[in-house]
């Protein structure tokens, strides 16, 4: 019976994730086909105007690029689009003609996952530790200083912090070489599992990572502080103290673990926010991640790339949310009892 309940929760959670992916797939399809500036028509017209290609040929070229049969009724096109997606075919880029969108994604997505993931991991763990320190040292100087800092950091938009890093570290004080740090790795560097590459990757990702940490840590600290304070008053903590358990054990196993649970629901929202914000951060530091690719495809009107990259960004967020939920249920057995949220 237990295994059935657990399975049931995961079936429901998985179905929810799949359904969301399905909605986003449909949304991006109809967005491109039904928007006022229908990119397929725009592309056909630009081919005719620029190269004087006859209409039919231009249409065929467009159809090949978008991987859709333009003569078929909309629902057939839609089914075809989904079929192509299931085969990993996201069409080809309009600007760098012939490059499959999937190849572009495979090249740039890992960098965003690497920088956002590292930043989030650090800010989440650091925030939990600092939040606990603040709760244990309530009303002390360190609590006031950290609280004020956390409020400031969590209210200032992340791209403004990124800009200030460029302005002060790079231009005014010349502590870092902004120009050399552009891109996701140095020219000529070969990706591989060696120290030189890892160091180089971290060097180029350091400013985005620092920005992600600075701008998200405040929220974790404040949430963890209030959560720890309320956990400290719980009966089981009082009992644990009365039983004379070692302080360290109470802090880690009783207070820390239970107080950090509410943060996991926030984690799922934060993932989407940070990945979404990577457009701005990557553009400021010229970090070659998926956000920068999406931005370029929008400004260059490279619709197949735009459509594919947006889809992949959303799917990454959905998958990351699913992982966060799995982690959450590992820590809190109550979530498996099937009550859902």
């Amino acid at each position: 019976m237990w295994s059935r309940i657990i399975r049931n929760f995961w079936v429901r959670r998985g179905a929810k994730a799949l359904f969301t992916v399905f909605v986003v797939v449909s949304l991006t399809f109809f967005l491109v086909r039904l928007m006022p500036a229908n990119p397929v028509e725009v592309y056909i017209n630009s081919l005719i105007e620029q190269y004087g290609i006859p209409y039919d040929e231009a249409k065929n070229q467009a159809a090949a690029l978008f991987s859709i049969d333009l003569d078929a009724p909309l629902y057939i096109q839609y089914l075809g689009y989904i079929k192509n997606l299931l085969h990993g075919d996201l069409g080809t880029s309009l600007i760098s003609a012939g490059t499959p969108v999937s190849a572009i994604i495979v090249r740039f997505l890992p960098w965003t996952i690497f920088s956002v993931g590292t930043g989030l991991l650090f800010s989440f763990s650091l925030g939990i530790i600092l939040g606990m320190v603040m709760a244990y040292r309530r009303e002390s100087l360190i609590d006031h200083v950290l609280s004020a800092l956390a409020s400031v950091l969590s209210s200032v938009p992340n791209y403004l912090i990124a800009m200030m890093l460029v302005v002060f570290l790079g231009v005014q004080w010349k502590l870092v070489d902004i120009a050399a740090m552009r891109g996701s790795m140095s020219p000529g560097m070969q990706p591989g599992l060696n120290l030189a590459f890892i160091k180089d990757a971290l060097y180029h990702a350091s400013l985005p990572i620092v920005t992600y940490i600075i701008t998200t840590i405040g929220t974790w600290m404040l949430t963890m502080k209030s959560s720890t304070i309320s956990t400290l008053g719980e009966d089981y903590v009082v009992v644990a103290k009365a039983r004379g358990l070692p302080e360290r054990r109470i802090t880690l196993a009783y207070v820390g673990r239970n107080a950090s649970l509410p943060l996991f629901t926030q984690l799922t929202i934060a993932i989407g926010f940070i990945v979404g914000g990577s457009l701005l951060i990557e553009s400021i530091f010229v970090y070659q991640g998926i956000g920068l690719v999406l931005l370029r495809s929008i400004t260059q009107r490279d619709y197949p790339v735009m459509q594919g990259v947006f889809l992949i960004i959303t799917i990454s967020v959905i998958v990351a949310n699913l992982l966060a939920d799995i982690l959450y249920s590992r820590l809190d057995p109550r979530i498996k009892l099937g009550t859902g949220e």
Partner: protein, 300 residues
Amino acid sequence: MTLAERNTLRDAIGNFVHSFVTFIRLMARNRVGFVGFLVVIGFVLLALVGPYFVELDTKTNVSQIYQPPSREHILGTDHQGRDIWAQIVHGGRDILYVAFLAGLLSTFIAVTFGALAALVGGVVDSVIMTITDIVLTIPQFPLLAVLAGFVRLNSLTLLAVLLAVLSWPTLLRAVRSQVLSLKERDYVEAAMALDMGLRHIIFAEILPNMMSYIIISLTLAMTGAIYAQVGLIFLGLVPMSGNNWAVMIQLAWVRGAIFFKDSIYYIMSPVLAIAFFQLALVSMTRSLEEVFNPRLRAGV
């Protein structure tokens, strides 16, 4: 005016002054929140009244490029020798307008549908919550950026509507759970038993008890709208003409002014204006909590 009328008028003014004083006193209970409140008021006055006092001169003045702050130019001058302070004064109104409208609309959507989901329940609740979960999962900013690629967003109102349409889910969930708990209270159950109509129950029985929540959410929705709006303009995805803080940042960035050591006053002025305004809005919510939540007051 008869004597009675004059008395009513005097009472009305007296009441207003009294509640205004009470409001300010309650706001002042939290020092951080009160400072935030004053800064917000300051920014609003600056944006609405300031332009009548400070003249905006858009002519290029080659002899005045990147001047440091002086008595003549409080914040120095930009890459074309124009006064930065004047641009800051004139550059707030658009930002505030879009933020307020977007915040208001998204709060309206969240409150209406959140309350509806909680009160009606059943299929309505499931449908609303499924949609909410989906919109919540889709990263908002990339979606905005993609939409900006299709729709020509050159109207401030259109931009505000678009921001509002995408930013209600978190608030809706919070409103729903609040209403779910308020629903169990006696007076709401009584109103339900008397069959007083859904609109009456939402707006007359439940909403007044959630005002603190709603006003705080409105403030936070405004910060979200400022984030997205300035971000889109900065990336050049919303072709905004004229002078506002976001356009100033975008120009400084695109023209490489940011890499020029003397440009610090030009780039930092709008950056700090937005940062301080956001910080003030968030701080203000602390005082708002004190005003609307008597339970918090009791302890002080």
